[in-house]
Amino acid sequence: MTGYVARRVALAALVVAGVIIATFVIARVVPGDPAATWAGPHASAAQVAAARRFLGLDRPPLVQLLAYFGGILSGNWGLSIHTHQPVLSDIGTAAPASLELVTAAMIIALAVAVPLGLVSARWPGGLVDQAIRAVSILGVSMPIFWMALILQLVFSQRLHVLPAAGEYSPGLLFSHPLAQRTGFSLIDATISGNWPMLGSILVHLVLPAVVVAAYPAGLIARMVRAQVLDTVSETHIQMIRALGFSERTVYSRFAMKLAWNPVAAAVALVFGYSLVNTFLVEAIFDWPGLGSYTAASIATLDTPAILGVTLFIALVYVAANLAVDIIQSVLDPRIRLR
């Protein structure tokens, strides 16, 4: 067990080192001169040279790489060009809103997709199964930036049932200001008992979360269907049937139990994908997370910020995979032997 965990952690550390090198290489691929960008459009040659020295670009590449490594590990992720703040502190400010959005999306996706997958697996090949399959493939085929615009148009501009944009109604800032404690608005509103604010955030969360949920929901529904179908033909399920449990219990309790493991792994993977999908959605809904930050960084060619976010999400992704691997190996000892 410890051996397995140690091996997985060592592998993850290796991958993290590779990820840092990859972002460094991408930063060096930049056509044009980062020093010139930094110094601004009207800088003199001397100012550009000063910027080059300041940014450390006059040193040999290997020294730069080591300095970059040192910087990443000590929390110095560079300065954002468009906010003039350290990239890491920008990410720290923006990440909670995105994590809340993606978590909400995952809850919606699981709540919709698990029942759909179960129903699909119970009557495979039937009309209902085909319909659910079509809908789940539609979910993974959705250009979510377009879906975001359409839902915004329909539900807020035309029907006026949901707010179009923002994290909460701005008026609440005066009547019920949000106490900053954890940086996670939903948690802050809950622990400070700020119910009007909590309600407002939840209402504002609905549209972006539904949009981000489209892809994971389609994926999870197909996975649940496949896993449950695989399981119900196994002998222990035959045994449970023979013991006289109802079909409903056989599917929802026993077959689903075995399906959870791979589904949990998929959820961890798709969490990282969905964090990236917020890039396409947050700016549309003016949700103040990593996505809006990255969209603004792209618009201003803010390479340090873009690479900082890239690195951050890659780290989250590696950590999520590692966590799933370890949890699964605890729950299911067979995995350790592979």
Binding site: V19, A22, I137, V140, F145, W146, A266, T303
Partner: protein, 298 residues
Amino acid sequence: MIEAPSPTAIPAPVLPRGQALWRGLRANPLLVAGGLTAVLILVVAVAAPLLAPFPGDAGSATHPFFVLRPPSAQHWFGTDQVGRDVLSRVIYGARISPLVAVIVLVIACVIGIPLGIAAGYFGGWVDEVIMRVTDVFLAFPSLLLALALAAVLPTSLTSLTIAIAVTWWPWYTRLIRGQAASVAGRPYIDSCRALGIPAWRIITRHVLPNSVTPLIVQVSLDVGGVILTASALSFLGLGAQDPTPDWGLMVSEGQTYFTTDWWVVTFPGIAILVTAFAFNLLGDGLRDLLDPKRSLLP
């Protein structure tokens, strides 16, 4: 792209080939629907100059007196912010996304297959080095790495294609490696070695042909994913530039006028959705038909 594993196929009675295919298609109407739609999209792409009512509008034409007209008998999908016919641009757009997808997938195969075969066949340190590099690439969600690359490269469709291809090959390397490793361990490959047949010949005549089926399925599944990734990057302004009639770019450009002039965004978006949906249905159905037991998830 992550893919859900398919259920185990129920063993079917052996039928003559044509009849078996016919039954497979009958049992899978979604595959047929997806395949027909995909063919239709390709026909539209090829016949774009014949089908588009205003072929000139696919380029840099402007019509200042026809700006943002709603759908009408003359302009079925309305006109955009410089007066171009949206229908014509959507039709010409069918030439861009599928072509980007094909180029990306070809590049990904050209890089991914040899590396995967080498890792799987030779094993040892070759395998270690290739697979650890692959792990690093797979540590990024593909859209993220493509985005970072597209952001630092000069903005163009070519950069976008390269950026996506760079993120796509590791999936194929991993897939082919597993197949090649299992083929390389079989006795008939040992016999080939014992007969003194050179490695490149064993690889090209035996290992490659016997490893490639799941890859074909995966490539067909990935067309939709690449189209979505490309349109997402174009939407973020990291791909095609005006006046290219790229669907993602059209959605992005129409965003500003969206609340009053819904058609500029709506129709190109539907085109992306229908195309991705068609290719995903096709890929999903093909997988069930050809290779029901495989999945990419660990």
